[in-house]
Subunit: 119 residues, 2 copies
């Protein structure tokens, strides 16, 4: 079974953390896939906790998706490091890391949609 | 004539700033609209410079789109403030501020697309 873990930085503001959960809910709906969220710091759950949850739900193929627009140090170094650490504690699952949101036509579509909402 | 200004925080890393330009190019292609970018700090152009560029290109309706995933202080306070300041120097244009990228089905689609790229 495949699972996705969406990971962002994490915030002290509940609203920012709730937003990742809202995106996860949309991904679940659209993708028909098991989805957990994780925060790098400042808020639970950690990537390790999220991976434990996926594994206990039966996931054997887990993809960590960095929920970041741009590839900075968090995306290039910290998240692969956290993922490798968490994977070492859950050897029954293969853990892979996806690219960040990055540059994509869907983001251009979203910019145009938000522009239409300007008041 | 309508113009969009995509604004992000700005970075010392050219790669991060280049990414906003890449999104702007995609928006231009897809939207058939005049698009400029701006950075809040750390890199040029400023919102004021971008608005001047739009106005000299003939824009009378300018929409500032915060290129941020989540609505924090930059989106709620700093960008509206920068936009109002810039607008006061260019009274020939109406300047409006759009919502940030936020929670949207297109982002869920993008998460699923990036997950498929995991190696």
């Amino acid at each position: 079974m495949r699972a996705l873990i969406l990971i962002d930085h994490g915030s002290r503001r509940a609203e920012a953390n709730d937003q990742l959960e809202a995106i996860a809910a949309l991904v679940r709906e659209r993708g028909g896939v098991y989805v957990q969220i994780a925060h790098m710091e400042l808020a639970a759950p950690s990537l390790d906790d999220a991976l434990a949850e996926c594994v206990s739900a039966g996931a054997t193929d887990v993809i960590v998706v960095p929920y970041f627009l741009a590839p900075g140090r968090h995306v290039r170094e910290d998240i692969p490091h956290l993922a490798a650490e968490a994977a070492s504690r859950h050897p029954s699952a293969q853990v892979r890391v996806a690219p960040p949101l990055g540059v994509h036509a869907l983001l251009a579509d979203l910019v145009l949609a938000r522009a239409d909402e300007a008041r």
